[in-house]
């Protein structure tokens, strides 16, 4: 089946005019499946890290949200061991007017602003709540260990 116009348009813009610190390129054999990189935002413990993600646009997209997952290990209260992301716009707060670009920018923003009150990785969240400084130290270590280029 032909790719919907919306996906074609989004892809064209993502490739031609990428958002700062973000790349997204579709797989040749599956144009709904994207290789994504996000640079860790400056001022966050993920600074200088480059994180790999995968993104998939399900058949229902944009009525359903894209599926996104980190492939790079990351120490973050809203991202679990398998790279799954707890972000409201990827779940109940999804709106069909949101786009791949906006989703990836939101994930980048989540790196700057972890939310330990809505955790996915409960142990990391606990660490962040009890001793934020030490938790950030671990986040920095992981960034250096797993996300440096």
């Amino acid at each position: 089946m032909a790719l919907p116009k919306r996906i074609i348009k989004e892809t064209e813009r993502l490739v031609a005019d990428p958002a700062p610190g973000i790349t997204a390129a579709p797989h040749e054999d599956n144009l709904r499946y994207f290789d994504v990189t996000i640079q860790g935002p400056d001022g966050s413990p993920f600074q200088n890290g480059v994180f790999h993600l995968e993104l998939f646009l399900p058949e229902e997209y944009p009525m359903s949200p894209p599926k996104v997952r980190f492939l790079t290990k990351i120490y973050h209260p809203n991202i679990d061991k398998l790279g799954r992301i707890c972000l409201d716009i990827l779940k109940d707060k999804w709106s069909p007017a949101l786009q791949i670009r906006t989703v990836l920018l939101s994930i980048q923003a989540l790196l700057s602003a972890p939310n330990p009150d809505d955790p996915l990785a409960t142990d990391v969240a606990k660490h962040y709540k009890e001793n934020e400084k030490d938790a950030q130290r671990v986040s920095r270590e992981w960034t250096e260990k797993y996300a440096s280029q």
């Binding site: 089946m1 919907p4 116009k5 919306r6 348009k9 989004e10 031609a16 005019d17 990428p18 958002a19 700062p20 944009p62 009525m63 709106s95 069909p96 007017a97 949101l98």
Partner: protein, 501 residues
């Protein structure tokens, strides 16, 4: 290559009317030679002044903003403080709208200077001082030369301006006539330049409005139900009211839309991409204008009306004109910068930085007057490009303004939700089936309330007229999708069965 040559060559590439209003680079350069001669005759040859710089204590430039009277004051003072009591001060005063450069031979302690500065009224306001401490042995040499020069003593100055009560009586004020002529020529050439640029802008806008009217008459929708004008943002709509529709249902609508699309995509003057956002350099503009011309070459052959072809030529000329204005402006600001640099280098009299660049953060009236190189927040080329974007391009409705944010195709048929946002009927039906209640744009709970009364017929007619092909295609696509869904609901999922060729 000397800049004067480069500058002259650049001007040759511009139309003659630009050339006649160009910057007086050569004359200013001659005046600098005269200043040097003048200083020489004062016994203050630049080589001597330079030696004061080199062997004297380190110069510290201190800038203080005198906000109360809205002028800028720059003081430079010697680090060594009171140890050198003899100093030469280069100051430029702003006296009844003329910049008067002069030298002040002073025996006061440099550290006193900033204190009495505050009491000076704004009528005569020194805007720049550079204190050069004079070694004892050179003093006699200077005073010797000064004997043959008309000089004003400090107390005479206070006669001209009686309120200058604290001026040091021992100060010698040495006017620099050639330097003054330099600044006079510089300010007058800059102000006539800005007048000329204003005139260019005044001339540009009527041409643009006429062009907009002409294109909108040629690009009127061919359909019979077409409204006689289109007006969401277009100024030109008023003009097209009086024009007759195209004969025989012909229209250049699609061709013009295509031309404008290529133009917008070419991003000739300004880039809108995330990584290179902003104004382009001259070379880039030239490149992108050529690219646009290349892309549009084939399209313009489809223009049916002679007036469309004429309009297209005018459109290209307007863009070339903007490019010329851009070149002209850049050349002039570069010439100003160069001549000031030359002034400093040849005379060793340092021009304060507040004269060289306008500080955009303190846009007081007098600081603007003082600035020799004005860096306005919006350059003329930008204003002209913006005018094209506001007056000309909107006369042809752009499909992006009428597309459904969900499917990215034209929002046909358009359903206007109670919150004011519109989407195509297919996408809203899909949302309702999934019980998605929130408006995708504003999250108001308006989706489930939508019913056939929410069809926006005004918008629907507009789309059918201005986007006949896109609307028809979308309508067919919608119908195919409905058939497909009905078959799927019946359990027939094999796409091959239901493809209606």
């Amino acid at each position: 290559m000397h800049f004067s040559k480069t500058y002259a060559q650049l001007l040759l590439t511009l139309p003659p009317e630009f050339r006649n209003n160009a910057f007086e680079y050569r004359k200013l350069k001659q005046l600098i030679n005269q200043i040097v001669f003048e200083l020489d005759s004062l016994g203050l040859a630049p080589s001597f002044l330079r030696s004061l710089h080199d062997h004297g204590p380190e110069m510290v430039s201190r800038m203080s903003r005198n906000i109360t009277d809205g002028t800028l004051t720059v003081d430079s003072e010697s680090m060594s403080g009171a140890s050198h009591r003899q100093t030469i001060v280069y100051e430029i005063v702003w006296n009844s709208s003329v910049l008067q450069p002069r030298l002040r031979l002073s025996s006061s302690s440099p550290s006193d200077v900033p204190i009495h500065r505050n009491s000076i009224p704004s009528t005569i306001q020194p805007v720049c001082h550079v204190n050069l401490p004079i070694p004892e042995r050179s003093l006699s040499h200077i005073t010797q030369a000064l004997l043959h020069t008309p000089i004003i003593f400090g107390d005479e100055m206070s006669l001209i301006n009686h309120s200058m009560e604290s001026d040091q009586p021992d100060d010698l004020i040495i006017p620099l006539p050639s330097d003054m002529a330099f600044f006079q020529l510089l300010t007058s050439t800059l102000s006539s330049l800005s007048g000329y640029l204003n005139m260019l802008e005044q001339g540009f806008n009527p041409v643009l409005t006429t062009l907009a009217a002409s294109i909108s008459s040629a690009a009127r929708p061919a359909s019979s139900s077409a409204p006689r004008s289109f007006s969401p943002y277009s100024l030109a709509a008023d003009h097209s009211m009086s024009l007759c529709p195209g004969p025989g249902g012909k229209s250049d609508l699609c061709t013009w839309r295509e031309i404008f699309r290529l133009y917008v995509e070419a991003e000739v003057f300004e880039s809108v991409s995330e990584s290179t956002r902003g104004e382009r350099s001259i070379e880039e503009v030239e490149k992108h204008l050529e690219l646009f011309k290349g892309h549009v070459q084939e399209k313009k052959e489809y223009l049916v009306f002679p007036r469309s072809r004429e309009a297209f030529a005018v459109f290209l000329n307007l863009n070339l004109f903007i490019l010329n204005v851009k070149k002209f402006q850049l050349a002039n600001s570069e010439a100003t910068r160069k001549i000031l640099k030359k002034h400093t280098k040849r005379t060793t009299l340092p021009i304060p930085s507040c004269l060289q660049e306008r500080d955009a953060s303190t846009p007081t009236a007098s600081s603007c007057q003082l600035a020799l190189i004005t860096r306005p927040s919006k350059s003329l080329p930008r204003l002209l490009v913006q005018a094209i974007g506001e007056v000309l391009l909107p006369i042809i409705p752009h499909i992006d303004d009428y597309s459904c944010l969900i499917c990215a195709s034209i929002a046909f048929k358009p359903i206007r939700l109670c919150c004011g946002h519109f989407f195509c009927v297919r996408c809203l039906v899909k949302m309702q089936r999934r019980r998605m209640a929130d408006c995708p744009m504003c999250r108001a709970h308006t989706v489930l309330q939508a019913n056939p009364s929410n069809v926006d017929y005004g918008l629907l007619n507009l789309m059918a007229d201005w986007f006949p092909i896109e609307s028809r295609e979308k309508q067919h696509a919608n119908e195919r999708e409905v058939v497909q869904e009905q078959l799927e609901a019946l359990g027939i999922t094999d796409a091959r069965i239901c493809r209606i060729m």
